[in-house]
């Protein structure tokens, strides 16, 4: 199967920085915003975006947590999934929550994440930030608010961020 590079390392860095600027631009104050990376593959990208935000706004307190959605999946009895850590050490009550993941595909992970978030309080608003949007492949009515790159793909293709080489590839 042929491998197609969607984002080169340089493009990936530009995209991460752009997403960080877009997020900062959109909020009056970062006090009321919390960033949540979704396990397992949303952690790396969310860390990079959050670090970029820290560079843009030095000295501002940025709240960042990680969320595992294994126990909220709708296919618990169809496939075995290993649970990972969740670490959200603050209340989400009345906060703007930005969910972050690497690739948005069917939307089922985000559905589960929305469900999981409710257990940590009632956010004022929930937004979605993804690096890659595989558009026209959604199985649920979920769309990103911030998107690195929208691509067209078929169900048998795979899209992956390869952190070793810092490339986004499709094969």
């Amino acid at each position: 199967m042929s491998k197609q590079v969607l984002l080169s390392p340089e493009q990936l860095q530009v995209t991460i920085n752009r997403l960080a600027f877009q997020l900062v631009e959109n909020y009056v104050s970062l006090d009321e915003v919390v960033f949540i990376g979704i396990q397992p593959r949303g952690i790396k990208i969310s860390e990079q975006i959050v670090n970029s935000i820290r560079n843009i706004c030095p000295g501002e307190k940025i709240q960042y947590g990680i969320l595992d959605i294994t126990f909220y999946r709708d296919d618990v009895r169809e496939e075995f999934h290993v649970a990972s850590d969740t670490s959200i050490n603050f209340s989400l009550e009345n906060k703007i929550v930005v969910l972050m993941d690497d690739v948005l595909y069917t939307g089922r992970t985000i559905r589960a994440a929305l469900d999981a978030l409710q257990d940590f309080g009632r956010p004022k608003k929930v937004e979605l930030c993804v690096l890659i949007d595989r558009r026209f492949s959604r199985q649920l009515p979920i769309q990103p608010d911030y998107c690195g790159k929208a691509i067209d793909s078929t169900p048998h293709q795979k899209v992956k961020v390869e952190w070793a080489t810092r490339e986004v590839v499709m094969y």
Binding site: F71, Y72, V76, F80
Partner: protein, 309 residues
């Protein structure tokens, strides 16, 4: 890795990988239990029956809470007040319950091997042993292991002594299997009448009849209950004498002058196998064991319900 077994009949049937999977999943559930809303929807479509043919407080409540925190539907059955008194057999009782579309069975029974018997007749229903006679109590051993790890790190190389009534204790047998599989060193300590004669040959554990020496050797002491209901012959002269020779007292703890972790599966006979000031002291993790029990049982139920052949 999914579990290698369809039922949880005993620790004997689990692989070290299974044990690790259960303990790591339990750690994730422990985090769930710290959240403002301590419930996940994982087993929304699963119905579980808790069949208790023998008395229980902690295990029954713990299983029921674990099931509810996983959003499963639960039915509780206790033998007293049921048709068991009219002579219905175990298999008939279970088959009748299962015909009402129940997916999993959690069972405690006074007969050793009762859950194994059920699993042979009901291969498609997951069965969880919540204690069978004097055979095994696997979820207790799992929560004990989880609690030890949480307090002093990985089990490999740790020295654990099981104190007291080894002969009648299903907690002891499950703990021995589990600790040996995970690479811990195990010793049993107690009066010779309460320790099976060939236990070293059969299970590869050390035997010590002097409690002070045993405590000096170990990192963890798991003090077992004297099972008065299973003693049909006189194996020690009196409870007072048992306390003098084998009771874990504050005086003894001061004498050994070493930091060890004290555990007890409950219910405690205060002043018999353990004194109150030790059971409630800083070295004791007895209540953490109970707390961890819910997380460990959630992990077991979750992993068995999610298992695919």
């Amino acid at each position: 890795m999914q579990l290698s077994t369809k039922h949880l009949l005993g620790i004997k049937e689990l692989s070290p990988e299974d044990i690790t999977t259960i303990l790591t999943t339990a750690a994730q559930f422990k985090e769930v239990l710290q959240r403002p809303i301590k419930k996940v929807p994982s087993l929304r479509d699963v119905t579980i029956v808790n069949l208790f043919y023998e008395n229980s407080t902690r295990t029954r409540i713990s299983f029921e809470l674990a099931e509810k925190r996983l959003s499963a539907d639960t039915i509780n059955f206790t033998a007293s007040g049921s048709s068991v008194s009219k002579g219905e057999t175990l298999l008939d009782t279970v088959n009748n319950i299962l015909s009402m579309k129940v997916d999993m069975v959690v069972m405690r029974h006074s007969a050793s091997g009762a859950p194994h018997f059920l699993s042979k007749h009901l291969p498609n229903t997951a069965i969880v042993n919540a204690g069978d006679g004097i055979n095994e109590h696997p979820t207790q051993a799992l929560l004990d292991a989880f609690s030890i790890q949480e307090r002093i790190g990985e089990l490999k190389g740790k020295k654990v002594v099981l104190v007291g009534d080894i002969m009648h204790s299903r907690v002891a047998l499950s703990n021995i299997y589990l600790l040996k599989k995970m690479g811990a060193e195990v010793m049993v300590a107690g009066p010779p009448t309460l320790i099976p004669k060939y236990i070293t040959e059969a299970l590869g554990v050390k035997v010590e009849y002097n409690l002070k020496k045993a405590l000096q050797w170990c990192d963890v002491a798991n003090v077992l209950r004297i099972q008065l209901e299973r003693q049909n012959q006189v194996l020690f002269s009196s409870l007072r004498e048992y306390n003098l020779a084998y009771g874990v007292t504050r005086k003894l703890m001061d004498e050994i002058n070493k930091d060890i972790v004290i555990m007890h599966p409950g219910p405690i006979n205060r002043g018999v196998e353990i004194d109150s000031d030790v059971a409630d002291g800083n070295e004791s993790i007895i209540l953490q064991q109970v707390e961890n029990g819910v997380a460990v049982r959630m992990a077991v139920l979750y992993l068995l319900a999610g298992r695919k052949d």
